[in-house]
Symmetry: C2
Subunit: 476 residues, 2 copies
C-alpha cells in the first residue's frame, strides 16, 4: 500500500513532535529557521526540509535515526553545507539532520599522532588543535572554515595536498557511524595497522551519507613542517609541465605538496581582474603553482631553488616567481583560489571536477573546448587542477544554466571521459548532480553492486535518498 | 535438502572433469601434485584440497568461479602461500584456486606513477619493475620473493615501511575482482582521486578473499629515494624509545621509513646465536632499528647523524651504531629479520601480531609476560615490532603447541587487548587462526555487519568459507 502525502504529513508532524520532546524544542527548527539556511553554496538555494533536527551527542543521533526508522522517515544529513553536487538538498517531506552541535574535539595524542573528533567539528578547528600540539592535520581545502570533518569523511574530501598526504580516506584511522535503523557501528580504532576483520569504516568514507551517518572519528596527524616554499611558473607546453611535475616529485624527495596547474584561459581570466597584480605575463599556455613542505629552512630553500633552476635550464619553465614572504605566497595562492572571480567572470557558471590519466589531459581539454565552441561560439572555459592527482576543475560559462543547457554542457564534458577511463568526480562526489552520469565512469556490474550495498545497509532508502544511487520505492 | 558427502563427491568429480576440459588437464592438479604443496609456512602443513585449479587469465578465473557457483562448490584462493593465519587451508571437499599463472606485469607508467599487474605477480617482481623505470613500489616485507600482489591486497599487507608509506590499501588505485557467482567487478581506475560513487575496491582489500577474488590491480608507485641511512640504537627505558620515535619523525621531515623496536628478550635471544656478531651489548632494555630514506646524500647523512646525536644528548639513546655500508646495513636488518632464529630458539613457536596504542605497550607486554610466567615458569617470550605503527610481534615458546595449550597462550595475549582497544591482528589477518577471538577487537554490531556483507556478496559461502567470518549452512 502506498503512503499518501496526507498520511505522511500527519505521521511526519507526530515524529517532529516526538523529536522536540526528546531533544528539546530549540533543537528542532522549522519554518523560517529552515528556509533561511542555504544548502547550496553556488546557487544559494534554501533548505526545503520539513524540519532541521540538531542532536547534541552521538547517542542522540542514534536515537533520532531509530525514531526515523520506525516512522520510515527519510532524512538528509547536513555537515558544513559546502558541497557542490546538491548532496544536502532535502525534499519538503524529508528531515535534515544537522551535526552542527557535534563539534567537540574529544582527545588529542601527539605521541601516537592521533586526534579524536566529533563529526560536526569544522576542519579548521581540527587543523588548529593539531598545530597547538606541534603537529599538523594534513587535509586542507578552501572551505576549511565552514566544512565539517563528517562531511570531509562522507565525501572523501581532497583539496590542495593530496599529492603529498592523500585524500581524507588516508587520514581516517577509525570512525563511528549510525546505520539507518539507529544501530551504532563503533570502529574507533586509533591504530595505523588493524587487520582484524573487514575494514568497515571504508563503507562510510566517500559514500556521501547514503550508508550511514558518521558521528565521530579518530584521525591521523602528521609531523608539522615549518618551511614552505612556493613558486608560480610558466611552462611553454603541456609536456614541459608534466616533465616539471616528475622532476619536482623526484628531486624534492617527497616534499612536493602541491602542483596546481592552470591553463592560460584560467590564468588570464583571473589575472585580468583588477584585484590581482599579475606576477607573470599571461602569454604562456600553462602555469603551475608549486609548493614544497619541509622542516629544514636553508637546505630546503636551496633544494627548491635548484630544482626550479634545473627546470629553467631544461626549458620546462620559461618564467618563474618564487614567493619571498608569506604575503607573496598568499598573493600567488589568491590567483589559484579565486573561485569568486571565476563565478563573476563566467556567470552563470557551471563548475566541473573530473579526473583522468595525466597523459590524456591535453587531448581531453582540447576536445571539450572544441565541443563547447561548436555549440556556443561565445562560450568561456577556464581550466585548472591538481595535476599530480590527475584532477582537473573546468569552469564553463555559456550564457545560461537552465536544465537543458546544463545537460548539454555536461555531455560535452563527461562523454569524452568514457574513452580514457576518466572519472566524472575526482573530489566533489556525486550527490544528485552527477548521479545520472555515473555510467560514464562505472560499469553496470559496479552500479549493480553499489545498489546492492545500498539496499543491504539501508533497505528503506532513508539516508540521503536519491543521492549517488537511484531510489525506487519497493513494490508493495 | 542437505547435500550428502556421496553426492558432493560425485558432483565434485564432474566439476573437476569440466574444469580440465576448459583449462586443459595440466592446469587442474590432483593427488601428489596437491599434497606436495605446503599451505602453511610455519607448520609446513600440506594442501588437502580435492584439486588445485590454475586459470591462466582473469577471464578464466571468472569462468572457474561461475562453474563453481553453479555447482555450489566452495573454493580457497591461493596466492604465494606465505600467510601465517591458516588462510590458505582447504578441506578435502574444497578446491584450491591458484593464481600463480596470473603473474604478468601488464603496464607501467612512470609519468603517472602507476603499474598495472595481475594478482599472481610476486611482490619482488613488481618492486624490480618499478626500479627499472627509476621509481619504487613502497610495500616491502620479508616474504617479498614468494608473496603475491593479490595476497598482499587480500590481506592488506603491512611490512617494514608502513610508517612512511602506509599499508597495501594505500598503494592500490584500482582493482578487478571476481564475485562468488563469476561476475567481474572491474574498478581499474588509474587515478589518485576518484569519488564517482562507492569505492568498491575497499571491499576486497583486507577481506582475505572472502568477498571476491582479486585478479588485477593498478598500483601507485613512489619516487625512488637513493640514500638510505640505518642505525641500531639502545634505549634506557620505554619512554626514551617513544621520545626517540617522536623526535626522528619530526626532525627528519617525513623521511623516517622504519622504526623497528626490539625488547631485550628479542635482541638477546637473536644475538646470542652464533651466526650474528652483536653490534651492541645486549644489556639495554630496548633496542630500535631506525631507517630513513631521502635522495640527497650529504644533507641526509648530516640530518640523520644530527638527529641521533641530539637523542644521545637527551639521554634517549645510550649506545648506537650507524651502518657505514650496505653490508653493515644488511647485518643490522638480519637481526630484526631473523625469524628462523626465533623459530629455532622457541620451538615449537607461537607467533602473534597485535596492535595497540603506543602509550599502552609497556604495560601490555608486562601483563602478557606475567600471565605467561604464572602458567609456564620456563616460558620464553620475544617481543619486537613496528613501533611507529603501534604493531607488536610477540613470539612465545612454552614447550608445546597442542591446541589446548595454544588456546591458553592466545588468551594470555589477546584478553589484555580488550581493555586498551587493541587489535588481535595488526597485519597478518584473521584466517582461521584468529576468527574465534575477533570479538576481542570488534563489537557485536561490527561482527553482525561483517556477516551481513559476507551473506550479501557470497550467499552460498563459496569463497574461503569459515575464514574471517563464521559459516553455518543455511536452514533448508
Amino acid at each position: 500500500m502506498a503512503v499518501t502525502s496526507q498520511q505522511l504529513s500527519s505521521s511526519l508532524a507526530t515524529l517532529i513532535e516526538t523529536l522536540r520532546e526528546r531533544l528539546g524544542a530549540a533543537q528542532v527548527l522549522t519554518g523560517d529557521d529552515v528556509a533561511s539556511r542555504q544548502v547550496d553554496w553556488l546557487s544559494r538555494a534554501s533548505c526545503r526540509a520539513a524540519a532541521i533536527v540538531r542532536p547534541g551527542t552521538p547517542e542522540q543521533v542514534a536515537e533520532v535515526l531509530a525514531l526515523c526508522h520506525q516512522a520510515r522517515q527519510p532524512i538528509v544529513t547536513h555537515g558544513g553545507l559546502t558541497g557542490l553536487v546538491h548532496g544536502a538538498e532535502a525534499a519538503p517531506d524529508e528531515l535534515a539532520l544537522s551535526l552542527e552541535r557535534l563539534a567537540a574535539i574529544e582527545e588529542i595524542d601527539p605521541v601516537a599522532g592521533t586526534i579524536t573528533v566529533q563529526a560536526g567539528a569544522p576542519l579548521q578547528k581540527v587543523q588548529e588543535a593539531a598545530r597547538e600540539v606541534g603537529m599538523q592535520f594534513a587535509l586542507d581545502l578552501g572551505a576549511r572554515g565552514s566544512c565539517s570533518i563528517g562531511g570531509n569523511i562522507a565525501t572523501n574530501a581532497g583539496g590542495n595536498r593530496v599529492i603529498r598526504y592523500g585524500m581524507m580516506r588516508q587520514q581516517v584511522l577509525g570512525l563511528e557511524a549510525v546505520l539507518a535503523d539507529g544501530q551504532v557501528i563503533s570502529a574507533m580504532s586509533p591504530m595505523l595497522k588493524n587487520n582484524a576483520g573487514y575494514d568497515l569504516k571504508q563503507l562510510f568514507i566517500g559514500s556521501e551519507g547514503t550508508l550511514g551517518v558518521v558521528t565521530r572519528a579518530v584521525l591521523k596527524l602528521q609531523p608539522a613542517l615549518g618551511d614552505t616554499r612556493t613558486a608560480l611558473v610558466a611552462c611553454p607546453d603541456f609536456t614541459s609541465m608534466t616533465s616539471l611535475l616528475t622532476h619536482l616529485r623526484d628531486s624534492l624527495g617527497g616534499s612536493l605538496a602541491a602542483f596546481e596547474a592552470m591553463w592560460q584561459n584560467h590564468f588570464a581570466l583571473i589575472t585580468e581582474q583588477e584585484r590581482h597584480q599579475p606576477p607573470l605575463d599571461a602569454d604562456a599556455p600553462y602555469y603551475a603553482l608549486v609548493e614544497s613542505l619541509a622542516n629544514d629552512e636553508d637546505h630546503h630553500r636551496q633544494q627548491f631553488e635548484a630544482a626550479l633552476e634545473a627546470s629553467v635550464e631544461q626549458g620546462w619553465v620559461v618564467d618563474a616567481v618564487i614567493a619571498q614572504s608569506e604575503s607573496q605566497r598568499d598573493k600567488l595562492w589568491a590567483i589559484r583560489d579565486d573561485i569568486e572571480g571565476l563565478v563573476e567572470a563566467l556567470s552563470p557558471i557551471m563548475a566541473f571536477d573530473v579526473s583522468l590519466p595525466i597523459g590524456e589531459m591535453q587531448d581531453y581539454v582540447a576536445e571539450v573546448q572544441a565541443r563547447l565552441e561548436a555549440r556556443w561560439p561565445q562560450m568561456r572555459l577556464a581550466v585548472f587542477g591538481h595535476l599530480g592527482d590527475g584532477n582537473l576543475h573546468l569552469s564553463v560559462g555559456v550564457g545560461s544554466d537552465d536544465p537543458d543547457t546544463r545537460h548539454e554542457v555536461e555531455g560535452c564534458l563527461y562523454e569524452p571521459l568514457a574513452r580514457v577511463k576518466g572519472s566524472i568526480s575526482a573530489e566533489h562526489g556525486i550527490g544528485l548532480e552527477k548521479r545520472d552520469w555515473l555510467s560514464i565512469s562505472r560499469s553496470p556490474e559496479e552500479l549493480a553492486l553499489m545498489a546492492t550495498l545500498k539496499r543491504t545497509l539501508d533497505p528503506h532508502g532513508l539516508l540521503n535518498r536519491h543521492k549517488v544511487v537511484p531510489w525506487t520505492a519497493p513494490q508493495t
